[in-house]
């Protein structure tokens, strides 16, 4: 998986557009995708049939749709094959999260209509779904990436209705993340590894151009 090229763009001199790559790299970095193509070939391969074909806000919505598809697929798997030692409370709340992500996914699919990208088939083969720590760590990475991605893309949205909708979703992702973080380490729901001295989410303070 040649993701290193993208990951190195996380520094203070992030290139334009790189917030999207940053989020994408974050997901690829935890091994949730099979990166079968060379990173030099940024175009979607014709035989995959992917055609964004959308402009402006629709492109951002498709980006969100892609993220939500991955999250939904992940939690569907978590619910279908619970990790060993899962508690009743964890089962209940993880199932809730699954249903939230499915609702998000289906919302974007419906809202995008014929502009929607095709259904994605993520490869989670590198995750041991029987291992609590591994599942929760991956979940936390998903949620933090989601929050970061929505926060980072918000200012690009032109339509007030879509911006409000993104806001409606991002706070739910943040609630998921705080829960996941507390499950991994009690009291880490918003610790200084993710929140800066201004009390703001660290990964997405003012981007440096």
């Amino acid at each position: 998986m040649k993701t290193e090229t993208h990951i190195e763009q996380q520094g203070p001199v992030m290139a334009r557009r790189s917030f999207l790559r940053y989020a994408g790299a974050g997901i690829a970095g935890v091994g949730l995708l099979t990166a079968t193509s060379c990173v030099k070939d940024h175009r979607v391969m014709p035989n995959t049939g992917i055609d964004i074909g959308a402009k402006g806000d629709l492109a951002i919505l498709n980006y969100a749709y892609a993220l939500e598809q991955l999250e939904a697929a992940f939690y569907i798997q978590v619910a279908a094959t619970p990790y060993s030692g899962i508690t009743a409370a964890e089962t209940a709340l993880l199932t809730d999260i699954r249903d939230h992500e499915v609702a998000h996914r289906e919302f974007f699919k419906a809202a995008l209509g014929s502009n929607a990208i095709q259904a994605l088939t993520p490869d989670f083969s590198s995750i041991d779904f029987s291992n609590r720590t591994k599942v929760l760590t991956a979940a936390q990475a998903f949620e933090d990436t989601g929050v970061s991605a929505y926060n980072g893309a918000g200012y690009l949205i032109k339509d007030a209705t879509y911006l409000t909708l993104a806001g409606k979703i991002v706070s739910v992702e943040a609630r998921h993340s705080a829960y996941m973080r507390n499950l991994i380490t009690a009291g880490s729901f918003a610790d200084n590894t993710i929140i800066d001295a201004n009390g703001m989410y660290k990964a997405q303070t003012i981007p440096q151009y």
Partner: protein, 292 residues
Amino acid sequence: MNLLNIIEEINIADPEFQDRISPRRAVIKNITSFGSKVAVAALPMAFSTLFKKAYGQTAPLTVSDVLNYALKLEYLEAAFYNAGVASALSFSTAEKAALVTIQTHENAHVNFLKGVLGINAVAQTSQGMNGTYDFTGGFNTTTNIVTGTGPFSTVLTDIDTYFAVAQVFEDTGVRAYKGQARNLLGNHTVSTAALNIHSVEARHASAIRQIRRARGGAGATTKPWITGANDTGIAAVNGNYAGEDNVVQGPVTITNLPGVSGNVSVNAATEAFTEPLTMTQVVALVNIFGVR
């Protein structure tokens, strides 16, 4: 399947994409370059002047109005956690640690917003009664006097009441920030900051709700997310959760969409989207605590 390829494709498909990240409209460009030159913590500048230029006559509210509104809410929250941490309430070690974390963030938000607003920032002493709030919710909005006889009269003597009020403050804060998103539309610097604070408030709300769930009793069934209209069991705060039972997002009725088995449930549909509150709604809800 490679997500990175999709992202590239978005950039190819949308020629405006780059423009929007590095806007060429001069006034917007000034703002973004301004933001890049100044550290976030050091923005004691007349921001509102800059942003008014970007919006012209179309802005429903000036950015400084929105920021002062946010500042008033953060003053309230900071004071609430300062009071809780300093109180005689016998929190567990974990509860106290969580409160101190949130207290730190709320005070940081105050300082951040004051720094951004500079001389335009409202003074804390203009709030409540010479800066003193009524956390019982009994503030007399006519005489501006703290009565201490509101619906949460045990807020600083009973831990469960304290956390219930904390939950209401956090959930309301999230909804309040969300409601201002459209007033900051296209404002890179301020909208990103607001979204960031908004997501941190959501983490606080989730954490407080988890504490209430763990404490059991009346809060035992509390989830980290908001289910339906007012899941607190406290009728006095119905207004703080008004509209949370909405299941229609834009043109889409969420409960008509396919879920894992059958359609998405009403609970999932309401939990998956947190609804905004308007400034008018929020002001009416927090003036009983002394926000003015």
